[in-house]
Amino acid sequence: MTALPVERGTPLIVLRNVNKRYPTAAGSFAALSDISLTLDRGAFVAIVGSSGSGKSTLLSLIGGIDRVTSGEVIVDGTAVHTLSERAMSIWRGRGVGIVFQFFQLLPTLTAVENVMLPMDFCNVWPPKERRERALALLDALGVADQGDKLPSRLSGGQQQRVAIARALANDPPLLLADEPTGNLDSRTAQSILDLFARIVEGGRTLVLVTHEASALRHASRAISISDGRIDVPTPNAVHA
């Protein structure tokens, strides 16, 4: 994994008066209400909350996966909420790495090919270097020997490591992880969290949505959300 030069403590993510509403058959549903938030570079941020509290929605808005109903989302100086679909795709591919709960590896591609895929889409790395880089990432995550296997042949932990390698493929400064350990046993989950901590030490910013109390041990900041609102601002590091 490449270590990024980072000016820790400077803001990377700024959310101002963010609202997100979803239309439902029963009327408009407020997933997030008036969220204002600043997250610093190099931080390991844990977003916690009960199911349906809005934490995954918050992650989606930061990652440009979804759009705000109102408010502003600024990531690394880019006003994400103003980007067109095309610009959003390009920005997302180069600026954000996303890790999902169910890994979401493409089943017909091998592990190494899954890691190469973002490079392929975003053209950040020259074609000749892509495989080498993908293997290096897998190696750094301890699954280099699984590179030529299809996802169905890998364990959950191995799949999540490959998914993390894929998230790092284009060397993004920001990593977003939506309950990445939710589908893993506790031992594997712990190893994944350790891995995230190492990634943050390397200079990246991580925003992690989790249910797991153990994740908070690694986090430099925890944000609790319930009913679409931030509960208690916790400006200082939390070590449970």
Partner: protein, 787 residues
């Protein structure tokens, strides 16, 4: 090395290889069908153009009493005449291996130097020698003769002579003998003399201009030749000017190919519905993958390119399979068409543009078909795509199937399942029902053709027609005939040829005039508009539709100047009838005979008590003998049942070609149904698992899939019936233009409807067999765990 995303494209295609293969096959069938017709059209076009052109066909033929070298030389010296040649055509009979056929024998001035309507020797000896016969190739199969065989030729009531078949030759200007049920042959003037047939050459064939003239220009120049000859005291009986450079049957065959081509293209378009189904299913199944790819930076055009490339890949493989089949099939079909037109297809080089067209259609059509579902699938928002819960949630079958009650639960489930993917159902139904509509259209056309032939022959109440060697007294003829055992009624008719005078010194092509007695009881066709002949009629004409097409001025109530035996006379058109594909007019014998044959009759028509070909033939032999004994030799005889068979054969051949496209579409529709059901099984794995878990047996699962397929098949059958109405009407109109006016059918032919039901049900049972077996064999745990 392929990048990961293209590897994904390949592996996804491989992952769904069953359906992929099905779609490729369906497309290949559609492409091959269209390709066969396109290639055949291209080959036949070149062959007819080159072959017919190379034969140097006559621009005009003048019928005179006698042509000698001096007359030929005189004509060649006239302006615009490039070539002239004398010929004689003789109607005779030929007996081969005990079977007797009518024969048309050609005799020319110099067989070694035929300059107009060149004949090509295929095998044996040329030129025909005295006492020898060279058979035209298209008559060969029908005659059963071969080189070296001895056959018996006879003319009129003259004694037959034995001649030896010396060679086989091809005359591309002749309509095929097998189709016309006539043996064409080439004999010398000496052979005609031995037959006691006239041997004087009486046709003057001309090549006028440089090939750039149209029919009217040629006609003008041919009539200038006629005037010149008549000024020199050579009477010209008639002038025939065909469309320059066009084979007599070329327009029919072109129209047939266009019609078939249109249906083949329809089959091709239907096969692309399968592409839509496959790509749609792929996209629906991969919605979450699309979301993931977008989340990791893919732009929608990149994703769209991946799925569109699947369509191109399908098209490319289908093209690769279809092109060789189309080339081989096109060659075979071109040879068949060549046989129909009596052409030899020698060059099998399909023009490059034809190949390129097939390539482009094969590659672009699936691309176009896939565009809409890909656009729809790839534009999905990332968050929506990631939230997608997968295929198993799909599908509200709508309110209509919910209303179906009173059936067992499994049957209800099958019925309702059929309506769950409505877009896919619509495409599958469209493919199957269009196939059904074409099949029913062809079936209706077949019934219409039979009906039209019935109409054509309905008024014909005689079984035998005898042409006399020389005109005879009509009353004596009838008296002799009525005395022959087996004869119920007899009428003497006069036959002649007429030409419409257009009033500007130019005349139309000659047409035969059949002249029964005005009070005829043996011929009473329906005339509509207008009426049929009646006792007391004067110079009135009833014309058939083929003549009306050639001479549009011959409308009911209109007067026309008709030249008969060189003399103009005024006639009034009183009716239009259907009487076959050749131009013909009818007029009262009492009026025609004095103008054409000094009041005498040229033929005899007879109704008999005989049942079947054999007894009818006996009556013919007795009639021939009786007339021969009375010094009234018969030149040729014809059984009307045979005539009807010839006409029906001609017409039904075309209908059968159209019907074959219906079969092609059934094949494609069946594949579409199989593809739809295989997708349905895949998508409902979990449901099937649940059914199995709650006790459904193997047979129930098998029946579930089969009943769903049958529901779609029966629906498509019901839809095909109304769709077939406009298709039948269009076919009847097209057929009427090409061949013969047939009644437009608005009520589908019941046998066709039942046959299609049987076929579509059969296709459904076969097409759904594999998906049903797969569903049946699905392990419960695996099916329940599937997402």
């Amino acid at each position: 090395m392929l990048s990961p995303r293209w590897r994904k494209v390949l592996r996804d295609s491989w992952l769904h290889r069953g359906r992929t293969v099905l779609v490729i096959l369906a497309m290949a069938v559609g492409l091959a069908g269209a390709g066969v017709i396109l290639n055949a059209w291209a080959l036949v076009r070149v062959a007819t153009r080159e072959g017919f052109g190379a034969s140097n066909p006559a621009s005009a033929t003048l019928r005179v009493d006698s042509v000698d070298d001096a007359l030929v030389a005189r004509v060649i010296s006239l302006p615009g005449v490039r070539l002239a040649q004398a010929r004689r055509s003789t109607v005779a009979r030929v007996q081969v291996n005990g079977a007797t056929f009518p024969a048309l024998l050609f005799t020319v001035q110099d067989f070694q130097d035929i300059r107009i309507g060149k004949v090509k020797l295929e095998s044996g000896a040329w030129p025909p020698e005295d006492g020898g016969l060279v058979i035209e190739r298209s008559s060969l199969d029908m005659s059963g003769a071969s080189i070296g065989d001895e056959v018996r030729l006879s003319f009129g009531d003259g004694a037959p002579i034995n001649v030896t078949v010396r060679g086989i030759a091809r005359d591309v200007g002749l309509a095929p003998g097998w189709m016309e049920h006539v043996i064409y042959g080439f004999v010398t003037a000496e052979t005609l003399s031995r037959l006691h047939a006239p041997s004087t050459l009486n046709e003057l064939q001309l090549v006028i201009g440089d090939g750039s003239l149209n029919q009217e220009d040629v006609r003008t120049m041919a009539f200038a030749v006629r005037r010149n000859l008549e000024a020199a005291g050579v009477p010209v009986r008639d002038v025939n000017v065909p469309v320059p450079g066009e084979h007599p049957h070329a327009a029919q065959m072109d129209s047939l190919l266009y019609t078939q081509g249109a249906f083949a293209v329809m089959a091709l378009v239907l096969s692309t519905f399968l592409v839509v189904n496959l790509i749609s299913a792929l996209l629906v199944g991969q919605t979450r993958e699309i979301g993931v790819m977008k989340a990791i930076g893919a732009r929608w055009p990149q994703i769209a390119a991946m799925y569109l490339s699947v369509a191109v890949l399908l098209g490319a493989v289908a093209v690769a399979l279809a092109l060789p089949v189309a080339l081989i099939g096109g060659r075979a079909y071109a040879i068949l068409k060549g046989d129909l037109l009596n052409f030899e297809v020698q060059r099998f080089h399909v023009p490059a543009w034809v190949i390129v067209a097939q390539l482009l259609v094969g590659l672009l059509l699936p691309l176009v078909a896939a565009a809409a579902p890909v656009w729809q699938g790839c534009r999905v928002a990332v968050n929506d795509a990631l939230r997608d819960v997968g295929l198993s949630s799909a599908a509200d079958p709508g309110s209509l199937p919910q209303r179906i009650t009173g059936l067992s639960r499994p049957i209800l489930l099958s019925l309702r399942n059929a309506f769950r993917r409505r877009q896919r159902l619509a495409l599958t139904l469209l493919a199957l029902s269009m196939g059904g509509a074409v099949f029913l259209g062809a079936s209706n056309l077949r019934a219409s053709v039979r009906g039209a032939t019935d109409v054509m022959f309905a008024g014909q109440r005689f079984d035998i027609a005898l042409r006399l060697a020389d005109p005879q007294d009509p009353d004596v003829l009838e008296r002799i005939a009525r005395a022959v055992p087996g004869v119920l009624a007899a009428e003497s008719w006069t036959g002649t040829r007429g030409t419409v005078d257009h009033g500007d010194g130019v005349f139309g092509n000659p047409f035969p005039i059949s002249a029964p007695p005005a009070a005829t009881t043996l011929l009473s066709p329906v005339a509509d508009p207008g009426r049929w002949l009646a006792p007391g009629d004067g110079r009135v004409l009833v014309v058939n539709r083929a003549l009306l097409r050639a001479e549009p001025s011959l409308q009911v109530g209109r007067r026309a100047t008709v030249i008969i035996q060189g003399q103009p006379s005024e006639w009034t058109v009183i009716g239009i009838t259907e009487s076959g594909p050749s131009a013909t007019a009818f007029a009262p014998r009492e009026v025609v005979a004095p103008l054409a044959t000094d009041g005498r009759a040229t033929s005899l028509v007879v109704s008999t008590a005989a049942d079947g070909d054999g007894p009818t033939l006996d009556v013919i032999l007795r009639l021939r003998a009786a007339l021969g004994d009375a010094g009234m030799p018969v030149a040729s005889s014809q059984m009307m049942a045979e005539s009807r068979r010839v006409i029906e054969d001609h017409l039904l051949l075309v209908v059968d070609f159209l019907g074959s496209v219906g079969w092609l579409m059934l094949l494609i529709g069946g594949m579409g149904l199989a593809s739809t059901m295989s997708l349905a099984v895949l998508e409902r794995r979990r449901e099937i698992g649940v059914l199995r878990a709650i006790g459904a047996r193997h047979e129930s699962i098998f029946a579930l899939v089969q009943v769903e397929g049958l529901t779609i098949a029966v629906l498509s059958w019901a839809l095909a019936i109304p769709i077939s109405v406009p298709i039948s009407a269009a076919l009847a109109v097209a057929f009427g233009r090409i061949m013969l006016r047939v009644p437009v059918t608005f009520v589908p032919e019941p046998n066709g409807i039942l046959a299609w039901l049987g076929l579509v049900v059969g296709a459904s049972v076969v097409g759904c067999a594999w998906p049903a077996v797969r569903a049946m064999r699905m392990p419960v745990a695996g099916a329940l765990g599937w997402e």
